[in-house]
Symmetry: C3
Subunit: 214 residues, 3 copies
């Protein structure tokens, strides 16, 4: 991998972190959080998934090794404070950033877990957690039922990307190609899911089932 | 311990995991979660407590070392999808599985913590966390006040089992006997609590007490 | 540091833990939690922030090394059970304990993180987490939107204390002086914030912004 690739990946990662932080900050704003609360929710959305992954892998959470994520979340806050009324027009842009971020976070999570010597199925779970757990933490903080458990395919896109990663790995593809194919499949799955409102089936729940079971 | 014991324990552990996952999936269904969301909630209910225990003990979360828990949760999801309308009749069966699972998770948590060299009081907390924290995580995900903090004795059964474990250990009982007595006391406490609706006392709360204290 | 200082710090730490546990137990009471649930919420409020800090630092959670925190939370529960109707009159006392606890927890978190070799910005985040994350966990358990994200300056006081700590450190002040100035600035910030109802600005949220972004 030459010197251009990491820079390219870093830009993408920055944009993904930014999009994740923006989503957390905006949802926090809708609940009248103050600036600090909004910042915490934005930061948690951006780095929460990777933090849990790293704690489970037994390594130092990634954001503690470089201030870039803290700064990126602060820029996202500044951006929402200054331009909040114009941000709605940029929804599609942010959606694209978010989908790109999701794809990149999934790749990072899968590769890091494999590098630690875990099998593919653990890596897929960790990739999915890296991409999607931040959104769950965000929704717990703002006291809402996690959106990703009920709306268009989101976390599932990471699982699909993980399977593609595994197939590429099995076919002994080059790392760059594997990453590109994995990321593209996450991104496209997410794009198609939102465009055509593809949701996973829901379970028919019975409200009275918790009589005896805790 | 002969070759039959681990197999017996494994069957019990599988049933316990299954019962915990079922409880998570069914409560998620009642909130219109999709299949993926229900799976995550079921898995978190089953392995969440042990995962926090292992992160605090500084070791790899147990479910990352064998795919059995991921598979078991998937079977629970399949089971709810296919037989949801018949499951209500099985409430008592699932309650028994759940109580057995609770007992077994408590034993596993206590023994593992003692094996790491911690004193009994830490082991009792970890055993209780292994058994009961999954249910708390489940209720946070579905945005409800954790049930185990308000209904019949649940987590307290693990504490009682832990005390029994400590007494057996002090009297230098054989490991198998210690485990059996500990597990039986958790199971019976839970059974009696639900049969006779034994709840811990609640605190008389005053709604206006948070004027100055955060 | 002579033998008197640790004892003084330990008394302060005990009072801080006690005040944090009381706040958790009282808010849990208002939601009809049982004794066990209230105890768990109280304990989580008191040690939750430090536990996450220690898991991120890759070290054993501090409360697992001495039973003092478990005992302190139990005393807080006993106190609420016996004197709940008289506690309202003590609101100002508890507020002072809470502010002192916040200051001390921030110092402990910052110093411990620096001792692990992390830079100041990580230490400030960890100090803030040690002081304020317990209150967030408490509010997640009782299913409320975290108070500290919306009311008078709370977590921000830890950040200010952290900056003061950094300045003292840069000026090569003595450890005791650094700790005192850091703690005093946290305590005074919190005191002034509540006295004059100083809140951070809130973001103007638009309720309809989550159309496309997750």
């Amino acid at each position: 991998m030459d010197i251009t690739m990491p820079t390219f990946v870093q830009i993408i990662e920055f944009l993904g972190t930014f999009a994740f932080a923006i989503s957390g900050i905006r949802l926090a704003s809708a609940k009248q959080f103050d600036w600090f609360g909004a910042y915490v929710v934005g930061m948690a959305t951006a780095v929460g998934g990777g933090t849990f992954r790293d704690m489970m892998l037994g390594t130092t959470p990634f954001w503690m090794t470089t201030p870039i994520y803290v700064i990126c979340s602060a820029l996202a806050l500044l951006c929402v404070i200054m331009f909040s009324r114009y941000l709605i027009r940029l929804n599609n842009t942010f959606f694209l950033f978010d989908a790109i971020g999701l794809a990149l976070f999934a790749i990072v999570g899968i590769q890091k877990t494999l590098d630690f010597g875990y099998p593919l199925w653990v890596a897929i779970i960790m990739g999915t957690m890296t991409g999607a757990a931040g959104g769950v933490i965000r929704d717990v903080f703002i006291n809402e039922i996690p959106l990703i458990f009920r709306k268009e395919i989101y976390a599932m896109a990471c699982v699909i990307g993980g399977v593609v990663f595994g197939i590429c790995d099995y076919l002994e593809f080059n790392t760059v190609v594997t990453h590109l194919l994995c990321g593209t499949s996450v991104f496209l799955t997410r794009l198609l899911a939102v465009k055509y409102h593809i949701c996973l089936p829901t379970l028919k729940g019975d409200e009275h089932q918790d009589n005896n079971i805790l």
